[in-house]
C-alpha cells in the first residue's frame, strides 16, 4: 500500500481517479487508515480512524499526541511504540492487538498494522476488534466450561481437536482410548462437531449403573425375605429347645443324642441371629459385663469337638458396657470359624487384655489359615470357601464390633493358622455417645 510523492505530477489525472476510488474505499471500510510523514504528523487520517478512536486529526495531529490520548497507560504505550518501530522497520505483516481508550473513555480493542514506505512514511492500518474480542472471550469461557463438564464426567469424554491434530493422530488416539479402557467396540459418538468431542462409553457406564441398582434392589428384597424367614424360624427353634430340655430331664441315659440336638439347635440359632443382625438396624442394649465371663461362656456353649483344645490367656478386665447378646454372637462366630479351620484338631487360644482405655480380645487357631489374596474378601457378607455355612459369620462380627465403636483385624498365614483381634473402647458408662 505504498504511497509515493515522487511521481505525483505526471500521474495527477490518473492519480486523482485512483485517489477518489481510494478515498471511497477509506470511507466505507471499517478499518482506519492513516499515514504519518517523516515528522510523524498525520498526512492521511481517514474517517475510520476518527470512528475507531473518537479523535479528529485536529485533536491528534501527530503520532505522539495520538499515542498519548489513545494509550494513556505508559507501559502499554511503550509496547505500542515499539511495535510501530519494529513493524515499520521491516516488511512484516504481523498484526498486533492492543486495548485502547476511546475518546468517550470506553476501553476497546484494536488491531494495528504498520509498515514503512520507501519515503520513510508510516502507513497504519487499524481495525476495531472489540466485538471480535468479546466473541473470542465467550468462546474461551464456553470451552473452559465444557472442559470442566468433561473433567467432571471423569474418564468418559475425550476432547480431540481434529483441526490441530490432524486425522492420522486422531485415529491413533481413538485406538489408544479403546485399548486403555477395553470397551470392546463401543461406538464413539460425535456430539459437538465444533470441538470434536467424542463421548466414549457413556452409554456403557449408564447401563452398568442401572444393572447395579437393579441388583441392589433384588438384594434388598431378598434381605427382607431372609429377615422374615429368620424371625419365623425363631418359633420352632424355641420349641425344640424346650423339648430338648424336658427330654434331658426325663431321659438321663440319652445324653449323646440330646447333646447333638442341642448343638444343632445352637447352630441353627447362629444362622438365624447372623441373618437378623446382617439385615436389621439393630440397636445396642448395653449392660455392664464381665467380658472374660462372656468369653468363657461363649467357648463353653460353642460345643467344641474333642480334638480342639482350648487355651485361655485372660487378664483381668474392668466391667464394661456392651450388648451381651451381640457380643456373644460375635465371639461365637469367631470361635466357630476357628473350629472350622481346624478340621483335624488344633488349639484354640482365647486372649483378653486391656490397655489405654481399649479392650483387646483375640481368637487364635492353628488351622489352615487364609491366603493373602483372600484377606480382604473374608469380611464380605455371604463370602465363604466352605461347603457349609452361608458366609455371614465374619461380616456380622465386623458389624457388631463397629456398632460398638471398635475395630477388628486379622493376621493369617497359609498353614500357620489365623488370629482375629478385636479392639473395643472400654465403655464404663451406659451413655450412648
Amino acid at each position: 500500500m505504498g504511497w509515493t510523492t515522487k511521481s505525483e505530477r505526471p500521474l495527477k489525472k490518473g492519480f486523482g481517479e485512483e485517489r477518489n476510488i481510494a478515498s471511497n474505499v477509506l470511507k466505507t471500510s471499517y478499518c482506519g487508515i492513516a499515514v504519518l510523514d517523516e515528522e510523524r504528523r498525520f498526512r492521511v487520517y481517514d474517517p475510520g480512524m476518527e470512528k475507531i478512536f473518537g479523535y479528529t486529526v485536529a485533536e491528534t495531529p501527530d503520532f505522539e499526541t495520538w499515542i498519548k490520548s489513545v494509550f494513556p497507560e505508559p507501559t502499554l504505550r511503550d509496547r505500542v511504540r515499539d511495535a510501530f518501530l519494529v513493524d515499520s522497520g521491516s516488511d512484516s505483516l504481523s498484526w498486533r492487538a492492543f486495548p485502547f481508550v476511546h475518546k468517550n473513555k470506553e476501553t476497546r480493542w484494536v488491531r494495528v498494522h504498520a509498515s514503512a514506505t520507501p519515503a520513510k512514511h508510516i502507513v497504519m492500518c487499524v481495525e476495531d476488534i472489540t466485538e471480535f474480542k468479546y466473541v473470542e472471550e465467550a468462546l474461551k469461557t464456553s470451552q473452559k466450561r465444557l472442559e470442566m463438564i468433561f473433567d467432571a464426567v471423569a474418564g468418559v469424554l475425550y476432547t480431540i481437536d481434529q483441526r490441530s491434530l490432524g486425522p492420522t493422530l486422531v485415529n491413533q488416539l481413538k485406538k489408544l482410548v479403546r485399548t486403555e479402557t477395553d470397551m470392546g467396540g463401543v461406538e464413539a459418538q460425535r456430539v459437538d462437531t465444533e470441538f470434536g468431542v467424542h463421548v466414549e462409553h457413556l452409554k456403557e457406564l449408564v447401563e452398568e449403573r442401572v444393572s447395579e441398582l437393579l441388583k441392589a434392589e433384588r438384594m434388598a428384597a431378598l434381605g427382607e425375605a431372609a429377615t422374615k424367614i429368620a424371625h419365623d424360624l425363631r418359633n420352632p427353634l424355641q420349641d425344640i429347645r424346650l423339648a430338648q430340655y424336658l427330654l434331658r430331664k426325663r431321659c438321663s441315659n440319652e445324653h449323646k443324642l440330646i447333646d447333638q440336638i442341642e448343638r444343632c439347635v445352637a447352630y441353627a440359632e447362629g444362622i438365624v441371629e447372623n441373618l437378623l443382625i446382617h439385615g436389621g438396624k439393630k440397636s445396642l442394649t448395653l449392660q455392664e459385663t464381665d467380658v472374660n465371663q462372656l468369653l468363657r461362656k461363649s467357648v463353653q456353649e460353642s460345643a467344641l469337638p474333642e480334638n480342639v483344645k482350648v487355651e485361655e490367656r485372660l487378664t483381668e478386665l474392668p466391667r464394661v458396657y456392651v450388648d451381651q447378646g451381640q457380643m456373644k454372637r460375635l465371639l461365637q462366630n469367631l470361635i466357630l470359624n476357628a473350629v472350622q479351620a481346624m478340621e483335624n484338631g488344633g488349639i484354640l487360644t482365647v486372649e483378653s487384655s486391656c490397655s489405654e482405655g481399649s479392650l483387646v480380645v483375640s481368637i487364635q487357631d492353628t488351622g489352615v489359615g487364609i491366603p493373602e489374596a483372600r484377606l480382604e474378601l473374608i469380611w464380605r457378607p455371604f463370602y465363604t470357601t466352605k461347603s457349609k455355612g452361608i458366609g455371614l459369620g465374619l461380616s456380622v462380627a465386623k458389624q457388631i464390633v463397629e456398632m460398638h465403636g471398635g475395630t477388628i483385624s486379622v493376621k493369617s498365614s497359609l498353614g500357620g493358622g489365623s488370629n482375629f483381634t478385636i479392639r473395643l473402647p472400654a465403655r464404663t458408662s451406659n451413655e450412648v455417645t
Binding site: R234, L237, Q238, L242, Y245
Partner: protein
C-alpha cells in the same frame, strides 16, 4: 403354701404344651389360652400369679392384653415373650406394665429363672403389704 398359678397366652400349641410341661415340672399350676380374648376370659375366672404373653396373638397384640388386664390388686406379674423384638415394642411393653421381656428362642433355664425371679418379687411385695397391714392392725389394737 398353695401352688403358684401361671397363665400362658400364645397361639403356638407346641409352645403352650412344652412350656406347660416345663413349668408343671417345676411345681407350678399352669393354664393355657390360645388367643387374647381367651386369655382375658381366663383372667376373669381365676386369679393368676404370673402371665406369660406372646406379643403376636391372633386377635390383638399381646401388649394390648397388658392394658386390658390392667392393674390388679395384688399385682399380676406379666412377662412378654416375642420372636420379633425391636426397641419400640420392648419400650412399649415395659411402658404398658410388663415386668419382663423375653426374646425367642430363650433357653429353658432362662425362662425358668425369669419366672422364679418374678414370683419372688411378687412374694416380697405381698410380704411387705402384709407386714404393714399387721402394723396397722396392731396399732388399732392400741
Amino acid at each position: 403354701m398353695a401352688k403358684e398359678s401361671i397363665l400362658i397366652v400364645d397361639d403356638d400349641s407346641d409352645f403352650l404344651d412344652l412350656v406347660s410341661a416345663l413349668l408343671r415340672g417345676e411345681g407350678y399350676e399352669v393354664d393355657i389360652a390360645k388367643s387374647g380374648n381367651e386369655g382375658l376370659k381366663k383372667c376373669m375366672e381365676r386369679f393368676y400369679s404370673l402371665i406369660l404373653i406372646n406379643v403376636k396373638l391372633p386377635d390383638f397384640e399381646g401388649t394390648q392384653l397388658l392394658t386390658k388386664i390392667g392393674n390388679t390388686d395384688p399385682k399380676i406379674r406379666k412377662v412378654i415373650i416375642t420372636g420379633y423384638p425391636s426397641l419400640e415394642n420392648t419400650r412399649q411393653a415395659l411402658n404398658l406394665g410388663a415386668d419382663a421381656f423375653l426374646v425367642k428362642p430363650v433357653k429353658a433355664e432362662e425362662l425358668l429363672e425369669t419366672v422364679r425371679k418374678q414370683l419372688l418379687e411378687r412374694d416380697k411385695e405381698l410380704a411387705e403389704r402384709y407386714s404393714s397391714l399387721k402394723d396397722i392392725k396392731s396399732k388399732k389394737k392400741d
